[in-house]
């Protein structure tokens, strides 16, 4: 009987095993991106940009040309590459410390200039690589090594919601949030990633997909329970869905009360 491979490694991934911790969903997100690149036939003209963070070694895992970026500056690097070679498909893959903390300015300006690049933003509510420090996305009360008593919103404020923030800029084409805490959500996440890359393929400007992800090691929660933790603690604060589309309305809020 003929045998068909119905699920295997996408060609946009290399054979190198990842260094991610057991159960860390960075691996799932890598695969979804790679599958999309393959499906849209972009793999051979794509340049990826790895952040500083757990996914710093992404260049070992994606079978495309790659840049390592300095911490937080991947969107600036993306700008440089895309402006130099508009024919390339350029994406950055960034964690929440990288994008929402040190790199907040770069991603907002890249979005606001309307660079024709795609940002995959992995929000795991903590700094993974450096061992579990608080991120701007850390949940209120969540313990991290630099907030050992839990994030205190009086001292550190509330978590930043990147998809919301960026979608209020007028320029960017596509902004969405997805999650990979269940296979069903992964399917949706892939659809969001596909739409983002399709935007770029069609010559539209900036697209970003925020993907909620787990960090079992630094959360100190076993992998399967981490998925539940994400669902229970992160989902309510980080709603999933499409925040901005190329055709959609200007999403900047109006004043509560007008002036003068």
């Amino acid at each position: 009987m003929p045998e068909t491979l119905v699920f295997g490694k996408p060609t946009a991934l290399t054979e190198v095993p990842t260094h991610y911790c057991p159960g860390c969903t960075h691996g799932v997100i890598h695969r979804l991106v790679a599958e999309v690149l393959d499906e849209l036939d972009l793999t051979r003209r794509t340049v990826g940009i790895a952040p500083v963070g757990c996914s710093v070694l992404a260049y070992n895992y994606f079978a495309t040309d790659f840049h390592e970026a300095s911490h937080g500056r991947a969107p600036a690097v993306a700008t440089g590459i895309k402006r130099a070679r508009p024919d390339l498909i350029v994406f950055s893959y960034q964690g929440d410390g990288d994008l929402a903390s040190i790199g907040l300015s770069e991603v907002l300006h890249c979005a606001n200039r309307g660079e024709k690049v795609t940002v995959i933003f992995v929000n795991n509510a903590i700094y993974g690589m450096t061992g579990g420090q608080m991120a701007p996305t850390t949940m209120p009360g969540q313990v991290a090594t630099t907030c050992p008593l839990g994030r205190d919103v009086e001292q550190a404020g509330y978590p930043i919601r990147i998809a919301e923030l960026i979608s209020t800029l007028r320029t960017p084409a596509f902004v969405a949030r997805a999650s990979v805490h269940s296979p069903l959500h992964a399917v949706h996440a892939k659809e969001m990633i596909r739409r983002a890359f399709r935007c770029q393929k069609e010559g539209r400007c900036f697209s970003l997909v925020e993907v909620l992800s787990t960090c079992p090691t630094n959360w100190g929660i076993p992998p399967a329970e981490s998925l539940t933790w994400l669902e229970q603690h992160m989902l309510p604060y980080y709603p999933l869905g499409v925040f901005k589309t190329p055709e959609g309305p200007d999403r900047a809020p109006l004043p509560l009360f007008g002036g003068a």
């Binding site: 390592e68 970026a69 440089g80």
Partner: protein
């Protein structure tokens, strides 16, 4: 092409375009705004792209990206903005990417002032960023030389896959002088195709990974040694220096770079007329520093005078060159104040007369 009266800043921008640079990323800062302004008008005319970066930090990472994709790229700034590029420059050097960076120095530290100075010599030549890396550093003394060095800088950057820094001393950016661009200019180095650039991997070459991360310390050490060998090659092959009067007899050798050397030049003229014998060595490349030329010229003098618009930075390299054989003196102004020919001549006179050893 005919001579044109141009500001140094604009001449450098035009030189970049003549050298095939089609990409500029930068952030405004006095006294070099004329460079981005010029580029924003000119680049679209030649099919190039100008992007006003949101900051110098971003600009240094944009040039990293563009250079990694194989294109010639320029940024420019002035002292505080260059300080913000230190992490980026270290990454660029570590990833072995060719970029050209212009620093039109102003007076520091901190916000300081917007007038000319030379207080960033250490930062430029010793590596203001972290880790063992070097920029190739060129310092023009006229608008024409500024234009010429910018063109060479692109060739040198490509050849060595290393950042090249043009260190302008603030006068050079604002000053207007006639300048000529040669139509038939040839690259100053043989240039290979950029097969290492990230242009999409089709399987026909190794994957292009633009990167300075080496998790294996042995690999990183090999990388450091490779870089060190490259810097050694620059020290062997890329020293540039101009000398005035060093073939004759003289009592005092003046060492100065950039437009300060112009002031020295005028002073030497005046001194000659007054019968005082002095000569000048002008390092054009600051890294690699022309130690040998300075040493040779210094040995003929009874005193060396280093003239800088700082509290004394290049003087350390001069002292490393001279190694105690001849006393090395310093004259400087700071804060945007300029040395005058009179200042220099007076000091040279003192030293020629055997005074002034109090410095």
């Amino acid at each position: 092409m005919a001579k044109k009266l141009m500001k140094g800043a604009e001449a450098m921008g035009e030189a970049a375009i003549q050298a095939g640079c089609r990409l500029f990323f930068g952030y405004p800062i006095t006294p070099q705004n004329e460079i981005p302004e010029y580029m924003s008008a000119r680049l679209p005319q030649v099919g190039g792209t100008f992007v006003q970066a949101e900051s110098e930090v971003a600009a240094s990472n944009m040039i990293y990206g563009a250079a990694g994709a194989g294109e010639r790229v320029l940024t420019s700034s002035s002292s505080p903005g260059i300080s913000l590029m230190m992490e980026g420059l270290s990454y660029i050097a570590g990833s072995e990417l060719p970029v050209v960076v212009i620093n039109i120095m102003r007076a520091g530290p901190g916000l300081g002032g917007i007038l000319p100075a030379q207080g960033d010599y250490f930062q430029a030549t010793k590596g203001g960023g972290h880790g063992d890396y070097r920029c190739l550093v060129l310092a023009p003394w006229s608008v024409q030389e500024a234009a010429d060095l910018v063109q060479d800088a692109f060739d040198l950057a490509d050849y060595y896959r290393n950042p090249v820094l043009i260190l302008g001393d603030g006068l050079i950016g604002q000053m207007m002088e006639p300048v000529e661009f040669k139509a038939d200019r040839r690259p100053c180095k043989p240039l290979a195709p950029k097969t290492w650039a990230s242009t999409g991997w089709k399987g026909d070459r190794p994957r292009a990974i633009i990167n300075s991360l080496f998790l294996d310390p042995e690999a990183l050490e090999r990388h450091n040694q490779k870089l060190a060998a490259k810097y050694a090659a620059m020290e062997r092959d890329e020293k540039r220096v101009a000398e005035v009067g060093t073939d004759g007899q003289y009592e005092v050798l003046v060492v100065a770079y950039g437009t300060v050397a112009r002031v020295v030049y005028t002073a030497l003229d005046d001194l000659r007329q007054a019968g005082v014998r002095a000569a000048m060595v002008r390092p054009v490349s600051l890294f690699p520093f022309p130690y040998e030329a300075v040493r040779r010229a210094a040995e003929k003098a009874k005193a060396v005078l280093v003239a800088e618009l700082s509290t004394g930075q290049m003087i350390e390299d001069v002292r490393l060159a001279v190694e105690g054989r001849v006393p090395v003196h310093f004259i400087g102004r700071q804060g945007g104040m300029l040395l005058t020919p009179e200042d220099i001549a007076a000091r040279v006179r003192e030293l020629a007369a055997g005074e002034g050893s109090h410095a």
